[in-house]
């Protein structure tokens, strides 16, 4: 099934990056054991990365052939990339995820997840703070109990918190 669509900003750069990464991985696969034997440790990754590289070249040419999404005159490519692919909301939400993951070990699952839930719900447009606070608390409580009892999954306790209470 082939769907005709317009080329988004950054699509060519993405295709180029895929090609560069594929070639880089092919080179590294080659360095494992070169062309020494068809059953060497490097032979199989060489085949897979070669397939990646060849298809990335074709994807690049296909991408160049698609007509671009029409934009207002004078808009830079970077601005179009921002509006079409990574609008502020996605960037901010992604950054909040990064922050959450970085705080997961120091603060522990309960505190970091609670902070993440309350902040990201607000960021994504749920402006009723009390509801966000209550839903987050209920969800964390439920997840924590279910994980500990039914799934027996260990969650991070928080190195910083444990350190403070030692």
């Amino acid at each position: 099934m082939h769907i005709q669509r317009r080329r988004l900003a950054g699509e060519v750069v993405f295709a180029l990056l895929l090609l560069a990464s594929s070639l880089f991985l092919f080179w590294h696969s080659y360095k494992i054991s070169g062309f020494s034997s068809y059953t060497s440790a490097g032979a199989y990754p060489m085949v897979t990365t070669a397939v990646m590289s060849i298809s990335a070249i074709i994807i690049l040419f296909q991408t160049l052939r698609i007509a671009r999404v029409e934009s207002a005159p004078g808009q830079s490519l970077l601005f179009q990339f921002y509006t079409q692919v990574t609008p502020t909301l996605i960037v901010v939400f992604a950054l909040s995820i990064v922050g959450y993951m970085m705080l997961l070990e120091p603060l522990g699952f309960v505190i970091s997840s609670y902070l993440f839930l309350v902040i990201s719900m607000w960021l994504l447009g749920s402006r009723r703070l009390l509801i966000n606070l209550l839903v987050s608390a209920a969800a964390i409580g439920f997840i924590y109990i279910v994980f500990q009892t039914i799934f027996s999954v260990a969650v991070p306790k928080g190195t910083l918190i444990q350190g403070l209470f030692k």
């Binding site: 099934m1 082939h2 769907i3 669509r5 988004l8 699509e11 993405f14 295709a15 895929l18 594929s22 991985l25 590294h28 696969s29 494992i32 034997s37 068809y38 059953t39 060497s40 440790a41 490097g42 199989y44 990754p45 085949v47 897979t48 990365t49 990646m52 298809s55 074709i58 994807i59 296909q62 991408t63 692919v85 609008p87 909301l89 996605i90 939400f93 995820i97 990064v98 959450y100 993951m101 997961l104 070990e105 699952f109 997840s113 993440f116 839930l117 990201s120 719900m121 994504l124 447009g125 749920s126 839903v135 969800a139 997840i143 994980f147 799934f151 027996s152 999954v153 969650v155 991070p156």
Partner: protein
């Protein structure tokens, strides 16, 4: 036979397992229905939570979620014109026009009945075909496994994406991700860049959660402002006359579902679209024109996609080759539980096969019960705003990735794959071939080397071996056809022929 029946009834006799299947089916209906939550995502996250469980318990939950989820996708397709899962895309063609006419209740009721019929036909086919297929699979050579795996990735990449090459790239990327770590034969490091962490390989569960969980959540932020629409959902139960009228079509399209589901890599989404196409061609006088609320347009895809569940289990259990993305994830779960899907699975652990058949049957019974009740509660849950839902999925994904090794590094991998998957989705790539590639990578590696060693490293003899046995030749022809039908020449020829 008595032994098989005993194994079959395990799921029906144990209250704990019955509860898990019921909970899984109910959860699956909601997960499948809520746009942004997918069955693949749910099963991926569940793997990391259930690996400490007994294999029967983990499989019981996953069976329920799988079957419920395939059905659940139809609910939002009918009510909101947003398919909750790819397998419900064709359902929206006629389901939503029916809802607009005030027949949402009737549409949901009929969908439930035909889904259950399709589900039972699929499970019946699994019970009959898998033992025979398993015996047949013992004749497969390593080269056949290699070709089957490549064909599976090609099928999933070519049929569901916008470009064959994007599918091939995604599949090859998945296979490459699967090669990172120490070589299983020589213990040489491969693509580890000197990192000790990478020597142990990249966790496929972290990759699955990243590609199906985080990437999906980020994509959903794009249409965060979509609001749910309320529909009239009274009069659910269809009349016996209606069921009888559509039974032949349901059975025919279930057959399509079983066959398509059993193809490696092709799942319920393709089965549903093909079944819809079949209904359009074969039904001369539909209840209404197709696309305008025809009952036939609802019966065909919904029978097929649930029948495809049973079909997809056939290659998964007999060859170790997934029928679709969800079975790829379930194979991952079986590996974690120390099982090795393939022809030997039926011989070494027949109890597991018959248990799975029994669990799927029970899940189908629960599907009937939950499908025809609780619609009003369902409509309320549908109204959960995405700003609340998406962060919750992310917390579950994070803790799922962490639980694999109690290590935050897997969480970073998950995030990395999630962000990468988001860009891939934005630029028209499918992520399912990546997962198929990761799961099938080790099997392909092993098969490739065994086949090459058996021809003593002679490249000509290696390629010639593909044409020396009927099985290998059939797979090669099927692969060639898949590739040829994706070429512009073929598509131009088809267009010219139909014009």
């Amino acid at each position: 036979m008595n032994e098989a029946l005993g194994y079959f009834l395990i799921a029906w006799m144990d209250p704990g397992l019955i509860g898990l299947i019921a909970a899984g089916t109910l959860a699956g209906i909601y997960i499948g229905a809520i746009p942004g939550l997918s069955v693949t995502m749910a099963v991926s996250i569940l793997i990391s939570f259930t690996f400490k469980w007994q294999v029967n318990e983990a499989l019981a939950l996953m069976c329920g979620i799988y079957l419920g989820g395939v059905y659940g996708g139809s609910r939002t397709a009918i009510l909101l014109n947003i398919p909750g899962a790819p397998s419900a895309i064709a359902t929206a063609f006629d389901g939503y026009p029916m809802a607009k006419r005030g027949e949402a209740g009737a549409a949901i009721g009929l969908t439930t009945i035909v889904s259950v019929i399709g589900g039972f036909i699929g499970i019946g086919a699994l019970a009959l075909a898998a033992p025979a297929m398993s015996d047949f699979a013992l004749q497969f050579h390593s080269r056949d496994y290699l070709m089957l795996a490549i064909w599976g990735i090609l099928l999933v990449g070519s049929l569901s994406g916008e470009s064959l090459y994007k599918g091939i790239f995604a599949g090859a990327l998945g296979v490459t991700i699967g090669t990172v770590g120490l070589d299983p034969l020589t213990a040489e490091p491969r693509l580890t860049f000197g990192s000790m962490q990478l020597s142990a390989g990249i966790s496929y569960v972290a990759a699955m959660i990243g590609f199906f969980g985080v990437a999906e959540v980020l994509s959903q932020v794009h249409d965060i402002k979509l609001k749910a629409v309320r529909q009239d959902v009274s009069k659910i139960l269809p009349s016996w006359g209606m069921v009888k009228k559509y039974l032949p079509l349901s059975m025919r399209t279930s057959g399509i579902g079983v066959v398509v589901g059993a193809l490696p890599g092709a799942g319920g989404d393709i089965a549903a679209l093909l079944a819809y196409d079949h209904a359009k061609r074969s039904v001369k006088n539909p209840s209404r024109p197709f696309g305008d609320g025809a009952y036939e347009g609802l019966v065909a895809p919904e029978s097929a996609n649930n029948a495809a569940v049973g079909g997809a289990h056939v290659p998964m259990l007999t060859l170790g080759i997934p029928g679709d993305a969800v079975t790829a994830v379930i194979i991952g779960a079986l590996y974690i539980h120390g099982l090795n899907p393939g022809p030997m699975l039926m011989i070494q652990t027949p109890h597991l096969f018959w248990f799975l058949v029994g669990a799927l049957c029970l899940a189908n019974v629960f599907l009937l019960i939950f499908g025809l009740t609780g619609i009003r509660v369902f409509c309320k849950i549908m109204e959960i705003p995405k700003p609340i839902l998406l962060p919750l999925i992310l917390v579950l994904s994070t803790i799922g990735a962490y639980a694999i090794n109690n290590n935050v590094v897997d969480v970073y991998w998950m995030l990395g794959f999630g962000v990468f998957g988001y860009f891939m989705k934005m630029y028209g790539f499918q992520v399912a071939p990546i997962i198929l590639g990761i799961i099938l990578g080790p099997l392909m590696d092993r098969s490739y080397r065994q086949a090459m060693i058996s021809t003593e490293g002679d490249l000509l003899a290696y390629f010639a071996s593909f044409f020396t046995s009927p099985i290998s030749l059939t797979i090669v022809v099927a692969m060639a056809l898949t590739l040829i039908t994706q070429t512009p020449w073929w598509q131009n020829w088809r267009k010219a022929k139909t014009a």
